[in-house]
């Protein structure tokens, strides 16, 4: 379909995927950098998933010895670090890198070369972390790396140093990206794109960037102090005179907001996807933005709820408990606003929308178990048990991963110019939904019954006999997740090459990315669009600049 806004693209840009390697290595185009971020994230997802599968095989039955305990500890540390730092954050940064400039009608990020440097720090960071596996043992003290276990005395190997150095680089990269996003959004908006008209995904990116800017440096500082303890003999955290718990405070001052760094972009994606497929404007735009900033503020005041068992003053614990519970309020606002957006709509349950509803159905469980965990007395039972493992997977997979899969399904046509195969999309969604719930639902009950997390094996013989069956159940379903991810990636790869052409606007979108071609030309827009509302595409349709929705070739016919 001929685009009204964009004339035919330069020939050199026709196929984003098959470019000379030199272009990939040196490009400052936010879109190509975004694709590289996303690819890196997806590879990390596969890697972290394989680590998880090995752990699940080890845990399938009591007293198995598939791998040894030391390897198990390395795997659990690598799984956590990979999924949190190298998969979700990086993938989300990639989506934002690709989409934010287009959504605000800009030609590129504000600092393209900083963007390039920031990206290339990530593969370095991953390589440094994984180098541990080839230098006598990777990090084995958990992704949290609490001292004294991570001090030289108890962990003389190189693994902890590589972990710390890797994450310091990651922080630097994250800070660069955050500054870049904020500057881009403040300075490069298209004419008429007031803050009150920003797409909610862009608002989510603003709040994410503020968070990462605020808490990235403390993490880097904590790791730097830990390295001083290890290499220079200081005693910030070492048990001989230092305060091990101080590290936990610094770590979780980063670590809890990090959860929101992972989920807020996902919230933004949901806020973009629901209105498009329901054919309704977002419900309560202002309260959506307010809720984002409520979460930003509260998330920096709750970190010690990860530490309710270290022995704090109960009034301090009460503060953190109340703040934690309050986060349910802005999250609830977002939830009800999404439901109200869909309510009364004419909803087309395309695959992205299914992922969105899968997200709401599962993330809700993570949110509710979060309220149980925030209650200090209850937490002293549940902390460090499989209940917590279930909880944060419901939050991070049920939240972040479902939404980023939704976002990928939603924006794939824009990024590649081709539609994903719908049947494969349905398969990947249902396998993921069933596999995920099968894997993590019964982890709650295991934890309630007293199975601690991060254990290499469970002995059986004193009331734990029955755990074998439950754990086997979990292991089987974890392979259903793996199958789903394989289907998903197969779909990405095959459709990128062979999918039916998507056209500029396959879903009937509301925001500016659908005003340009798929994939967009190097500078996104041949003519800078002018924005009159927070649904500029609607205005264009009303003005006759775009074909009206009724005539839109909807993706359902493209499968």
């Amino acid at each position: 379909m001929a685009s009204v806004l964009a004339p035919p693209r330069p020939k050199s840009y026709d196929d984003t995927f098959f470019k000379p390697i030199s272009l990939w290595l040196t490009t400052t185009d936010h879109k190509l950098i975004g694709i590289m971020y996303m690819t890196t994230g997806m590879l990390a997802f596969v890697l972290g998933g394989i680590l998880a599968l090995v752990m699940r095989i080890q845990l399938a039955q009591p007293n198995l010895k598939v791998i040894d305990a030391e390897t198990y500890n390395q795997l659990l540390s690598a799984h956590g670090t990979t999924m949190i730092f190298f998969f979700v954050t990086i993938f989300m940064t990639g989506v934002a890198n690709y989409m934010v400039p287009i959504l605000i009608g800009a030609r590129d990020m504000a600092f393209p070369r900083v963007n390039l440097l920031g990206f290339w720090l990530i593969p370095m960071s991953i390589a440094i972390y994984y180098a541990g596996f080839f230098t006598g043992g990777a990090m084995d003290a958990g992704w949290t790396g609490y001292p004294p276990l991570s001090t030289k005395q108890f962990n003389p190997g190189l693994g902890v140093d590589l972990w710390a150095f890797s994450l310091i680089l990651w922080c630097v990269s994250g800070i660069m990206a955050s500054v870049n996003f904020l500057t881009t959004i403040v300075a490069l908006r298209a004419p008429g794109m007031k803050f009150s008209r920003l797409p909610l995904f862009v608002w989510a990116q603003i709040s994410t960037s503020i968070l990462l800017l605020a808490v990235g440096a403390p993490l880097a500082a904590a790791l730097f102090l830990l390295e001083l303890d290890r290499q220079a003999g200081t005693t910030f955290f070492a048990s001989n005179g230092g305060r091990p718990v101080l590290f936990q405070h610094l770590f979780w001052f980063f670590g809890h907001p990090e959860v929101y760094i992972l989920i807020l972009p996902g919230f933004g994606m949901v806020s973009e996807i629901v209105p498009v497929f329901a054919r309704k404007p977002i419900f309560g735009y202002t309260s959506m933005v307010a809720a984002l900033f409520g979460i930003v503020f509260l998330s920096m005041a709750v970190w010690a709820h990860h530490m309710f068992t270290v022995g704090m003053n109960i009034y301090v614990e009460t503060w953190f408990m109340v703040m934690t519970m309050l986060i349910a309020v802005p999250t609830g606002i977002k939830f009800f606003n999404w439901i109200a957006t869909a309510w009364g709509g004419s909803i087309d349950f395309q695959v992205p929308m299914k992922y969105v509803f899968g997200f709401m159905a599962t993330f809700l469980i993570g949110g509710i178990t979060g309220v149980y965990l925030s209650s200090v007395p209850v937490d002293t039972q549940l902390h460090q048990s499989y209940y917590v493992v279930a909880h944060f997977h419901y939050v991070m997979v049920g939240g972040s991963v479902f939404t980023l899969l939704a976002g990928t399904q939603y924006w794939f046509p824009k990024i590649t110019g081709r539609m994903l195969n719908k049947t494969l999309g349905e398969w990947s969604f249902w396998l993921f939904f069933v596999g995920f719930n099968g894997t993590f639902l019964v982890m709650h009950t295991l934890g309630l019954e007293g199975m601690a997390r991060r254990i290499y094996s469970y002995p059986g013989g004193f009331g734990e006999e029955g755990w074998g069956a439950t754990n086997m159940f979990i292991t089987v379903f974890s392979f259903v997740i793996a199958a789903s991810v394989l289907v998903f990636i197969y779909n990405l790869v095959v459709s990128w090459k062979h999918g039916p052409p998507a056209g500029d606007d396959p879903w009937g979108g509301n925001t500016l990315e659908w005003a340009t071609t798929s994939p967009p030309p190097p500078y996104n827009f041949d003519k800078v669009p002018v924005v009159r509302s927070n649904m500029p595409l609607r205005d264009m349709r009303a003005d006759g600049l775009r074909p009206p929705l009724e005539h839109q070739a909807l993706a359902s016919h493209n499968s």
Binding site: P148, T309, G311, F336, W343, Q381
Partner: protein
């Protein structure tokens, strides 16, 4: 339209998932806490503080289940009622941009709910989590964690050491307030016996306190809950509650065993004259000397992490 088969699948799968959850829950309640891994609720503690956690868990479950049902119900309604294939051909969705009153409603509603959850949690917190420090315990046991095991030093001066997958029980009397002073020799550990009460960390550098008042004889399992190294999973715990008479007998035999072991008791370091060098830290646990201040104060300095210290306590 593609909507219909999907609708059928949604209608089948979602209840299936719910059904699965319910089957698991019933199976678990049928198993009556018998190690099925399917318990739908925290253990009903055999100590008042554990039981208060159980009550609190039940209390939180009321709004939690209601909200769960409400929101999942709304989602299912949206999925079923508002799909495009079920709407009239020329249906134009209403273009609502918001509704002040509704938005205030679903801000205030959750606020009210978490206020009450917070209040009840705080009441439990204040009642059960200060008791250990202020009350005068009947039995005051010093628990020292190390890689990978536990030393329980009783007020009478003897120490029970436990290591490995078949742990030696921590023997406590029923009906008495038992206080544990938790301490670590090396890295952070966590002490958790789910059937009694919550957990507390053993952090090197200061003491944490926890307490039980077990109301019936029994034996319960537990484990270390803070990743502490390769042998973390072997740091199993057993707690055995016995009657007063049995407890007296246990103390007697333990003291006799200690006396039989000779002057250098198993729980303390060799006497100063036998120490090979003055630099050897006094590695006996502070609790070994009865009468030492039981207040939660930082440990005396010089708690060495020397291999000799660990060797002495585990021998």
């Amino acid at each position: 339209m593609r909507g219909q088969p999907w609708l059928r699948r949604a209608l089948i799968s979602l209840p299936l998932v719910a059904l699965l959850g319910m089957t698991l829950a019933t199976a678990a309640s049928a198993a009556e806490g018998g190690g099925s891994g399917l318990s739908p609720i925290v253990p009903k503690g055999n100590s008042p503080n554990g039981r208060h956690i159980y009550d609190l868990y039940l209390g939180i479950s009321i709004p939690a289940i209601l909200i769960f049902l409400l929101v999942e119900g709304l989602l299912l309604t949206v999925i079923i009622r508002f799909r495009r294939s079920r709407q009239p051909k020329d249906y134009q969705p209403p273009q609502w941009h918001g509704h002040r009153l509704l938005e205030i409603g679903w801000t205030a509603g959750p606020l009210l709910i978490v206020f009450f959850i917070g209040l009840f949690s705080f009441i439990t917190l204040q009642r059960d989590y200060t008791a250990a420090a202020s009350d005068n315990p009947d039995v005051d046991i010093h628990v020292v964690g190390h890689q990978y095991g536990w030393d329980y030093t009783y007020p009478e001066g003897f120490t029970v050491s436990s290591e490995g997958l078949q742990p030696t029980p921590l023997v406590i009397p029923t009906g008495k307030l038992v206080r544990l002073r938790l301490d670590s020799k090396d890295v952070i550990h966590g002490f958790w016996v789910p059937d009694l009460a919550g957990k507390a960390d053993l952090v090197p550098g200061y003491q944490n306190l926890m307490w039980f008042k077990v109301d019936r004889p029994g034996e319960w399992r537990g484990e270390c809950t803070e990743l502490c190294g390769q042998g973390h999973y072997t740091m199993q715990i057993r707690v055995k509650a016995v009657s007063d008479a049995d407890y007296e007998a246990f103390k007697r035999t333990s003291l006799e065993a200690k006396a039989k072991a000779g002057a250098p008791s198993p729980s303390t370091a060799p006497s100063p004259s036998a120490a090979p060098s003055p630099s050897a830290a006094p590695s006996g646990s502070p609790g070994a000397s009865p009468g030492a201040g039981a207040s939660p104060s930082p440990r005396p300095s010089g708690t060495g992490y020397s291999p000799t210290g660990q060797g002495a306590s585990s021998s």
